[in-house]
């Protein structure tokens, strides 16, 4: 798919909404430390703000039980750091991140998850899109928005429908979704998101140099992207998985009522209980007779 076109207003001012993966179950087992990761990300965010005076950065933390805004560069609630040892962005973000992590931890202790949970990417994307709509409402001259997902956890299949809804809404509003995926295997959801919305999907090969990858691939605004050679998307897998065995199939059967996908022929749809090949009224009258009898 072609990259997202730049519109003709303030074409090099960006509004960057970052969804930061803070899933403790992922970070505790990952070889790279969260503190090293965070220091590179903070330097990158600072560099975005330095690239243009009107650039805006918003950070949303994606936990395993909740999501929340942790930094907004245009908000007037930012305070300068008290002892001047670090920039205001760092102190504000770290303070809010600490609060968020404590609350998220509280949810985890209340409910022990059965398996390693994924982070709530669908919630973070939805919140990012609402914020971007607010930026659109601000008037004719507004910065060009885009979303950057810094993500490492594996995909949660229960979020599939919500993530696809968010992706289509982003495509409709011409908001590209870039993904910098640091986990072990490629994330199919983020690959599809970047492909459909016209963003960039990139998996940095060496995480010690993360800042270099971020600033060369993800820092440019949408207008300047057409002048750069950026990583191309290869091999996005659009095949569906069947609902019965969860295997990817390239030919299958689709129920005409509820669009569930099956790999072999069934007599009855397991999702919507429609009987195939029979007019619906026969089924409905059979059910109502059963109800009357019981």
């Amino acid at each position: 798919m072609a990259s997202a076109p730049s519109k003709h207003y303030t074409d090099d001012i960006s509004l960057l909404v970052v969804t930061l993966d803070t899933n403790p179950f992922f970070w505790s087992t990952f070889s790279f430390h969260f503190s090293d990761f965070l220091s590179q990300v903070l330097a990158f965010l600072n560099s975005i703000l330095l690239l243009g005076q009107l650039n805006q950065v918003v950070v949303i933390a994606t936990g395993c039980n909740s999501c929340s805004y942790i930094y907004d560069s245009s908000s007037d609630r930012n305070h300068a750091s008290t002892n001047g040892t670090m920039p205001a962005l760092y102190s504000n973000l770290l303070h809010n991140l600490d609060e968020f992590a404590a609350k998220d931890h509280q949810f985890t202790t209340d409910h022990k998850p059965p398996t390693v949970p994924s982070s709530l990417l669908s919630g973070a994307l939805s919140m990012a899109l609402c914020y971007i709509q607010r930026a659109f409402r601000a008037g004719p001259m507004h910065p060009q928005p885009r979303i950057l997902c810094l993500h490492g956890s594996t995909d949660g299949p229960e979020q599939y429908v919500a993530i696809m809804n968010a992706i289509f809404s982003a495509q409709h509003s011409s908001v590209p979704v870039d993904s910098c995926y640091i986990g072990s295997n490629n994330s199919a959801f983020l690959q599809q998101a970047s492909y459909i919305t016209g963003g960039i999907y990139y998996r940095p090969p060496q995480l010690e140099g993360l800042f270099q990858y971020l600033s060369t691939v993800f820092a440019t605004d949408l207008h300047s992207r057409e002048y750069l050679r950026l990583p191309k998307s290869l091999g996005v897998d659009f095949r569906a998985s069947c609902f019965c065995h969860k295997q990817t199939i390239d030919m299958g059967y689709v129920c005409s009522v509820c669009l569930s996908i099956f790999c072999e022929h069934h007599d009855k749809c397991s999702t919507c209980s429609s009987v195939f090949g029979q007019a619906q009224s026969d089924v409905a009258s059979a059910d109502s007779r059963k109800r009357k009898a019981s």
Binding site: C64, N65, S66, C67, S68, Y69, S75, F107, D110, H111, P117, L120, S122, G123, S126, M127, L129, C130, Y131, Q133, R134, R137, Q159, V161, A162, M164, N165, A166, I167, F168, S169, S173, I196, G235, V236, D237, F238, R239, A240, D250, M251, G252, Y253, V254, C255, S256, V257, L259, I261, F262, H265, C272, V275, F276, G277, Q278, A279, Q280, S281, A284
Partner: protein
């Protein structure tokens, strides 16, 4: 001072603008006073100063009213939606369509709105098909056949369409009826008639045709551009469609776009069936193959049919060699929000926000906008019945019309625990 008639329908307007300004003796700023009446869009505020009319409050109020009307009509039973639709659009090209009460003419407005409707329709219903039929001089003709991609229909619409003669409702319905009898039984049959004439010139008894359509389970809807007609109302009532009459161009746009989401399906109308579909993989970048749609060699970037292995250029489509419907999983995913709709949000009146027993925040959960107006008074806001998070009205409209996800429900894994701990 009738400079509307001189404006060309399509093509370049930039060159003609300067000529028009000199020709009619009116400058562009003078035309703004005669046509736009810009002084009517001003109003006084409390201190007597002038400001432009604030349309956002009106917009929000309209939205909430519309939601309340929909909620009261919705049945409690789970409504199924017809997702695989075969829709014929009947465009009336009679003499009445060349009337100029819609600027520049009814026909031009219809063509433009049908184009945007077709794009929106395929966006929301990727597995459906559309066909175009025109009626003029007392007969009906097929402009395009039922097809699954928007380009061919839009190309036909943009071509030269002349208006003449009388419209014939019965001939159009007969044509549509014979074409829709050939489609598979799992598809939902629909007709959308855009009628500008006030009469119909029929060869036989139109009531019989209406009964035939009703027996074939075709859902006919009409949008009138002139005035309400009994025969259209009767047709829509018999077949279960909707009849509306457009008041002006923007109202017409609203009415036609209302037909793009799938209508509630009457269960007996279509049989449930398992449709065999293929999910092709994208071909490797450097591969060369002859594609079946353009019949020429192409490199890279196409899809391979899983059954007969030929190359197709875009999805969704039907393989020309083996007839398999080819789609990708995002196309199916586009329709999932019709199957899993989110609940409408409940209003929170400004007065109840001061109540300390409820936990009200002052910022919208989705966009972080302050929910207090000037003077720290709480404004009207809404909250999700499931996760109890508060949202502003603009986020409410965006969430229900475009996003179809509640950010609150998606952002809390255990939403019930959130409410209980608070």
């Amino acid at each position: 001072m009738n400079n509307i008639a001189g404006r060309p329908l399509n093509g370049d307007v930039e060159d003609d603008d300067e000529d028009e300004a000199n020709d009619d003796g009116l400058e562009a700023w003078e035309r703004a006073y005669t046509e736009d009446r810009s002084w009517e869009s001003l109003q006084e505020d409390e201190s007597g100063l002038l400001r432009p009319i604030d349309t956002t409050a009106v917009h929000h109020a309209q939205y909430r009213r519309r939601l309340r009307a929909l909620a009261s009509n919705a049945a409690t039973a789970r409504i199924q939606k017809g997702l695989i639709r075969y829709l014929y659009i009947v465009v009336d090209l009679s003499k009445a369509a060349s009337e100029r009460d819609f600027r520049p003419s009814r026909m031009a407005v219809i063509a433009k709105q049908v184009e945007s409707f077709i794009r929106e329709f395929f966006d929301q219903n990727p597995l459906s098909h559309v066909g175009l039929v025109t009626t003029k001089d007392g007969v009906a003709n097929c402009l395009t056949d039922l097809g699954g991609s928007p380009e061919s229909h839009i190309k036909a619409l943009m071509g030269k369409l002349e208006c003449s003669g009388d419209a014939s409702l019965q001939n159009a319905l007969e044509l549509v009826h014979s074409n829709l009898n050939q489609i598979p039984s799992y598809g939902h049959r629909e007709v959308l008639i855009l009628y500008s004439a006030l009469s119909t010139c029929d060869p036989g008894d139109i009531m019989e045709t209406i009964q035939k359509c009703k027996k074939s389970k075709i859902r006919c809807s009409v949008i009138g551009l002139a005035a309400e007609m009994f025969i259209c109302k009767h047709l829509c009532q018999e077949t279960g469609g909707t009849y509306s009459v457009a008041l002006d161009e923007s109202h017409f746009k609203e009415l036609i776009l209302e037909h793009s989401p799938p209508p509630p399906a009457i269960a007996e109308y279509a049989t449930a069936n398992l449709i065999k579909m293929g999910f092709p993989q994208r071909a490797a970048e450097g591969s060369v193959a002859i594609c079946t749609c353009h019949e020429e060699a192409k490199t890279g970037g196409g899809y391979t049919c899983p059954r007969c292995k030929v190359r197709v250029c875009e999805l969704p489509t039907e393989c020309r060699i083996c007839g398999l419907t080819l789609i990708s999983s995002p196309h199916l995913a586009r329709s999932y929000h019709h199957l899993f709709p989110i609940v409408p949000f409940a209003e929170i009146s400004p007065s109840s926000q001061n109540d300390p027993s409820h936990n009200f925040t002052n910022t919208c959960f989705g966009c972080q906008q302050s929910l207090l107006s000037q003077g720290n008074k709480p404004e009207l806001s809404v909250s999700c019945p499931k996760c109890k998070q508060q949202f502003c009205l603009d986020c409410d409209i965006y969430i229900h019309e475009s996003l179809h996800n509640c950010p609150g429900c998606e952002s809390f894994r255990h939403s019930k625990s959130v409410t209980s701990s608070q």
